[in-house]
Amino acid sequence: METTIAAISTALLSAGIGVVRISGTDAFTVADKVFRANSGKPVSKMRGYTSALGRVFDGQNNAIDEAVCQIFCAPKSYTGEDVAEISCHGSVWILQKTWRLCLENGAHPASPGEFTKRAFLNGKLSLTQAEAVMHLISAGGESAAKAALLARDGVISGRIYKITGKLVEQSAFLAAWADFPEEDLEALDAGLLMNTLVSACEEIEEMLRSYDAGKILRDGILTVIAGRPNVGKSTLMNLLAGEDRSIVTDVPGTTRDIVEDTVRLGDFTLRLSDTAGIRKTDDTVESIGVLKAKLAIDAAELVLAVFDSSDELSDDDNDLLLALSGRPCIAVINKIDLPLKLQADLIRAKIPHVVTISAKSGEGRDELLKATEKLLGFTSFDPAAGIVMSERQRLCLIKAGESLEDAKTALSAGMTDAVGACVDFAIDILLELTGERASDRVIDEVFANFCVGK
C-alpha cells in the first residue's frame, strides 16, 4: 500500500487562491478530517469529479477558512490514485495550516516531484515523459538536499542535533549494558535515563512551540537590530517601522534601552527591537543597555546587524560579528550615500546574507525585505537558515516525541529492551534529516566510550 501524501500545490505566495492536494489510498479519509462540506456530506461519500463548498477546520473545531474540495477517484486522476484537492484562500498562513492539518491526520509530506512520480508509475504519463520525470525528481532532490545542507547550520538543526546526541549517549549506554552484560559497567540508572527522556521530550515540545511556522506567521519574528553606536540602527528601525520611534541623534549611545515595534512584511510580522549600540563603555546607564542588547541578540530569532559603510571595521564590529556566528542574521551595510571606507568582504566572509542600504534615504529597503523573506524561508522549499521549522522537521519531531513517550512508558514498566528499541527508533527518525543510521551512531558511541569486549 502506498502512503498518502499531501502538499501545497500552488506557489507559496499570497494569491487569490491556493490548493492543497492529497493523493493516495487514504486521501478521502484525510480530507474528511480536515474539510467539512456545508451540505454535511462527507468527502468519502462524494462522487468523483464533483466539488463541495465547505470549511477547513482545525483540531479544536475552529473554522480556519472557507474552501472548495474537489475529488478525483482512482484510477482517473492525475496520479492514478484517489485525489482530493482543497482550494483555500491563498494566504501563506492558511495554506500552511491546511497542509499541516492533512499531515496531522495521516498524510505524509510529498517529496519534490512525488505526484508526478506516482502519475508515471501508475501509467498516467507516457513513456516519453519518463526522462522528464526523472529530471524533475532529481532536480527537486538536489535543491531539497541543498536546502537541507544549508539548514544543517541552522538553529533548529543545531537543536535537533543536540537532542539526538543526548539520545545516542543514552542508547549507547543501554546497548553496552545489554550487549556486554559481563563487563564492569555502571548499573543502569533508571532515574537518570528517565530524566534524559523527559528533558528530550520537553525540548521537542519547546521546539515545536517556538519554531512553529504558523506561530511565527501569527505572532511575528523576534528581530533585533544590533550594531555599535551610531551606525544607524534607530534610523533603520524608523525606516522599517515608518515612524520616529527611536530618538535619532548624532551622539553615539543615544538609545539606552530597547525600543520595540512591529512591522508587517508580506505575510508575516517582524517584532523589531532597537538595541543600544554594543561597545565597551564605562557609563553605567549605557552599560546596562549594552548588556540588555547582548541578551536580546541571544534570544533573537533574527538579527539585523548594522555596519557603517563610511567607517572602517572597528573592534566593536568584530566583536559583534563573532557574537553572531551561527545565528540567523542579515548584515545591513548602512550609509551607502556617504563615501565608502568599510571592507565589506570581511563581513561577507562571516555572514552570508548582506544588503547595502541608506536608512536615511530609504534606498535598499526592498532588498532588505527580500533578503529577510529569503532567510526566513518563505520563498524556498526548506528554510535556509532554519528559524522556521519545515513541515518535514516538524513531523519528524512529532514522531520522535511519540516514540520517546513510548520509551518512557516502557521504562516505567521495567521493559528496558523496549526502551532501547523506542529510543533507537526516535534517533532514526531524527537522523532521517541528516541521512545517518541510528545503529551505526550508537555502536560507534559504545566502542568510543565504554571499555567492553573480551
Binding site: I137, E142, D179, M415, D417, A421, D428, S439, I443, K454
Partner: protein
C-alpha cells in the same frame, strides 16, 4: 607441479571451521554432493579462541541457525560444561544464551557429525588455486599437491588461516591459529580473480594450568538451573558440570603494561591489520581507558579432560616475559603457569560489499564466502553465514532458486544485510543493538520465525516439524483462551494484586489486562484460572511476552510493513546504473559497487537519497514498459 584429476562434486567448501561445517552439512543435506577441504582434520570445528558458544546476540544467531536446521546448537547442547541465560531481568529481547563448552569434545562431536553425513566427503588438503570456466564461473579447485577437483560451486571459509601471521611482542610468525599452518597460496589466487582484499587482526589470551591458579581468591560464577538448551530439538534435562571464575587486574598489572607498551606488537607498528573494536587487548583497555582501576578476567575451563584454563578478557600481543609478569600481579594468579601465550593474529579477508545477500560473489558466479573471510568475527557469525552460503551453493548446483533471509525476520538476515550493504571496515560482531526490529527477533521465538523456512528448504525432519506445529497450536490456543477470560472483582484477586504491589480492581477486568501490568506474571494468576491447561514453560513464556509487549510488537510490525513493498521489489541483475540520468553521481557509484538485490536494500545504502530511489523506480517502470 604435476596435476591429476581427483574427482567431481557439486559443492566444495574450503575450510573446516564453524562456517565450513555448517556450509558443508547444509549443502550435503540438500542433496548436493559436497566435499569439505581442511588444512587439518584434527582441527575441524576448533575453538581457537574462547571455549564458548553463544553470548549476547550470538546466542540469537545459534538459536536461529538451529531453527533453520543447522548443527551448532545441537553440538553445544551435547558438550557444554556450563550454561547461562545472559541479561535476565533486562527484557526478553536481549536474553541471550551462552555456554562454556568442552573444546576437545566439541571438535570430536562435530567431526563425527561431518563424517557420518551422507553425501559429504572430508579431505585434508590446502586449496591453492580456484579456476574459472570461459564464462568466468567457478570450475575447478586445485590442492597444493596438484589434485584437481571439478565443482559447480565453492564456499570459501578460511577463517584466520589466509596468510595468517601471529604476533607475540616483536616476534612475527607465519602461522594459522593454535600453531597450525597458514594458508599461503590461496590469497594470490583470489586476488587474481579480481576480489578486493583487506587485512584484519584479532587476538586471543593466554591459557594457564588449572593447578597454578588459587581459585579461593577468585569470585565464582555458576551456571543457571534449569538449563535452557540451544536447540529447540534437545529434550531431557541438561546439567552444569563446571564453574567459571572471575579475577581482576590491578594498578600493578597496569603499571607493567604501561611500562612495556612499546614492546606490544600492536603498539610497535608491526601489525597493519584492522582490529576488532569489541575485542580490545588488555593493553588497549589499559591505555584507552586509563581511568579504570581494574579490568575483569574470566577464568574458563577448556574442557573436562584438560587442565588448561582460558583467561577471557586478557588477550594481548605483549612479549612472553611481560605477559607472565603481568598475569602474576593478579590476585589468585601469583604462581600462574602459562601453557600457551596470548597472541595477536592477522589474516586476509575480503570486502564483503562484493557479495550478494546469498553470499555469492557479485563478480564470480558460483563463488561464495562465509565467516572471517567475509570480515566478521565469532564462531556464531561464521556458522550462520556458512549455513546460508552452503544452502545457496547447493541450490546453485542443483538449479534451485537463491535463498535469502530478510533483515526484518532474523539476526542472520540482519548480519548478512549489514555485510553486503555496508561492507566491513573492521571485524563485525553481532549485537542486539544492530537490529532495529529486536523486539520481534527474540531468541525465544526463533523457531516460530524460522522453522517454517527451514522446513521449506527441506532441512527440518518430520518429527521436528510435528513438534513445532503442536507448540505453535498450543501457543495460539492458549493465547486465545487467555484473551477471552474476564475476572470479576474479588477479595482474593485484590489481595494478590496488592501483594504484587499493583492497584486493586473495582470492576471486572480482563486477565490479559492484568498480565500487561509489569508486576504480574502468568504463573501467579493460576488460582483465578480453573480451566488452565498443562503447558510447558516454552509455551507460557510466549503467551506472557506476546501479551506484555503487544503494543511494542505491533509498532515494530508496522515498521516492517511500511518497508515491505520496497523490500519485495527486486532489482534486475543487469541494471546499468551508469545510464540512469538523474541519479546523483555518489549514489550511482555506490549502487554500481554494491549492486543491491532489492529497492529496500538500495535505500539502505549510505549516500543513496530518497530522490535517487524515486528516479530508480521511474527507470524500472520505463524499462518494464519498453520491454512490452
Amino acid at each position: 607441479m604435476t596435476e591429476y584429476f581427483a574427482g567431481e562434486y557439486d559443492v566444495a567448501v574450503i575450510g573446516g571451521g564453524h562456517a565450513g561445517a555448517e556450509a558443508s552439512l547444509a549443502s550435503a543435506r540438500l542433496g548436493a554432493s559436497t566435499v569439505l577441504f581442511s588444512m587439518s582434520l584434527d582441527a575441524l570445528c576448533n575453538l581457537p579462541c574462547n571455549p564458548s558458544v553463544g553470548g549476547t546476540a550470538k546466542g540469537h544467531l545459534v538459536r536461529e541457525l538451529d531453527a533453520l536446521g543447522g548443527e551448532m546448537g545441537k553440538a553445544a547442547d551435547a558438550v557444554f560444561l556450563q550454561s547461562r541465560m545472559l541479561n535476565r531481568g533486562k527484557g526478553p529481547a536481549v536474553h541471550s544464551l551462552r555456554v562454556q563448552v568442552d573444546r576437545a569434545k566439541y571438535h570430536l562431536h562435530m567431526k563425527k557429525v561431518l563424517e557420518n553425513q551422507p553425501g559429504l566427503s572430508l579431505k585434508q588438503a590446502e586449496i591453492a588455486d580456484i579456476r574459472l570456466d570461459e564464462n568466468g564461473a567457478v570450475k575447478e579447485l586445485v590442492t597444493a599437491l596438484g589434485a584437481v577437483y571439478r565443482v559447480k560451486a565453492a564456499v570459501i571459509c578460511t577463517g584466520t588461516y589466509l596468510n595468517g601471521k601471529v604476533f607475540v611482542g616483536d616476534s612475527v610468525l607465519k602461522s594459522g591459529p593454535d600453531g597450525l599452518h597458514a594458508a599461503e597460496k590461496l590469497t594470490a589466487s583470489i586476488a587474481r580473480l579480481g576480489l578486493r582484499m583487506q587485512r584484519f587482526k584479532t587476538g586471543t589470551p593466554a591459557r594457564a594450568h588449572r593447578d597454578s591458579i588459587d581459585f579461593s581468591k577468585l569470585e565464582t560464577q555458576l551456571g543457571d538451573e534449569p538449563v535452557t538448551p540451544f536447540s529447540f530439538a534437545t529434550g531431557g534435562a541438561l546439567k552444569n558440570t563446571l564453574a567459571c571464575h572471575i579475577a581482576y587486574t590491578n594498578e600493578k598489572t597496569h603499571e607493567i603494561i604501561r611500562g612495556n607498551i612499546e614492546r606490544s606488537a600492536m603498539y610497535s607498528g608491526n601489525i597493519t591489520g584492522i582490529g576488532a573494536r569489541y575485542c580490545p587487548s588488555i593493553e588497549d583497555k589499559v591505555i584507552r581507558f586509563a581511568d579504570k582501576k581494574r579490568h575483569q578476567i574470566f577464568v574458563e575451563p577448556m574442557g573436562l579432560d584438560t587442565a588448561e584454563m582460558y583467561l577471557q578478557g586478557a588477550s594481548s600481543s605483549l612479549p612472553e616475559d611481560v605477559q607472565i609478569k603481568m598475569y602474576r600481579t593478579i590476585k589468585g594468579f601469583e604462581r600462574i603457569e602459562i601453557m600457551r601465550v596470548a597472541y595477536a593474529i592477522e589474516y586476509d579477508c575480503i570486502d564483503s560489499a562484493q557479495l550478494k545477500p546469498t553470499l555469492e560473489s557479485l563478480k564470480i558466479p558460483g563463488l561464495y564466502g562465509a565467516g572471517q573471510f567475509n570480515g566478521t568475527s565469532g564462531y556464531e557469525e561464521a556458522a550462520a553465514q556458512g549455513f546460508v552460503a552452503g544452502v545457496n551453493a547447493a541450490h546453485k548446483a542443483l538449479g534451485k532458486a537463491p535463498f535469502t533471509l530478510m533483515r526484518s525476520g532474523s539476526y542472520i538476515g540482519t548480519l548478512i544485510d549489514d555485510l553486503v550493504t555496508k561492507g566491513c571496515l573492521d571485524p563485525y560482531r553481532m549485537m542486539t543493538s544492530r537490529s532495529e526490529y529486536r523486539l520481534l527477533l527474540r531468541q525465544d521465538n526463533a523457531d516460530t520465525r524460522l522453522t517454517p523456512i527451514g522446513r521449506e528448504l527441506g532441512l527440518i525432519g518430520n518429527t521436528r516439524w510435528e513438534m513445532f506445529l503442536i507448540k505453535q497450536k498450543q501457543i495460539e490456543d492458549e493465547k486465545r483462551r487467555i484473551l477471552a477470560i474476564n475476572l470479576p472483582p474479588s477479595e482474593e484477586i485484590n489481595r494478590l494484586l496488592l501483594e504484587k504491589g499493583t492497584t486493586p480492581v473495582t470492576t471486572g477486568v480482563k486477565m490479559a489486562e492484568l498480565l500487561k501490568r509489569p508486576q504480574m506474571d502468568y504463573e501467579s494468576l493460576l488460582p483465578f484460572d480453573e480451566d488452565r491447561p498443562e503447558l510447558s514453560r516454552d509455551v507460557t513464556e510466549q503467551i506472557e511476552i506476546q501479551i506484555k509487549y503487544e503494543g511494542y510488537i505491533e509498532k515494530q510490525k508496522s515498521q516492517v510493513k511500511a518497508r515491505e513493498k520496497m523490500e519485495k521489489q527486486k532489482l534486475p541483475d543487469d541494471i546499468n546504473y551508469g545510464e540512469i540520468q538523474g541519479i546523483r553521481l555518489e549514489a550511482r557509484e555506490k549502487l554500481s559497487k554494491i549492486r543491491p538485490e532489492s529497492v529496500g536494500q538500495a535505500a539502505r545504502i549510505s549516500g543513496v537519497s530518497p530522490a535517487d530511489i524515486s528516479v530508480l523506480l521511474i527507470y524500472l517502470e520505463q524499462q518494464k514498459r519498453m520491454a512490452k
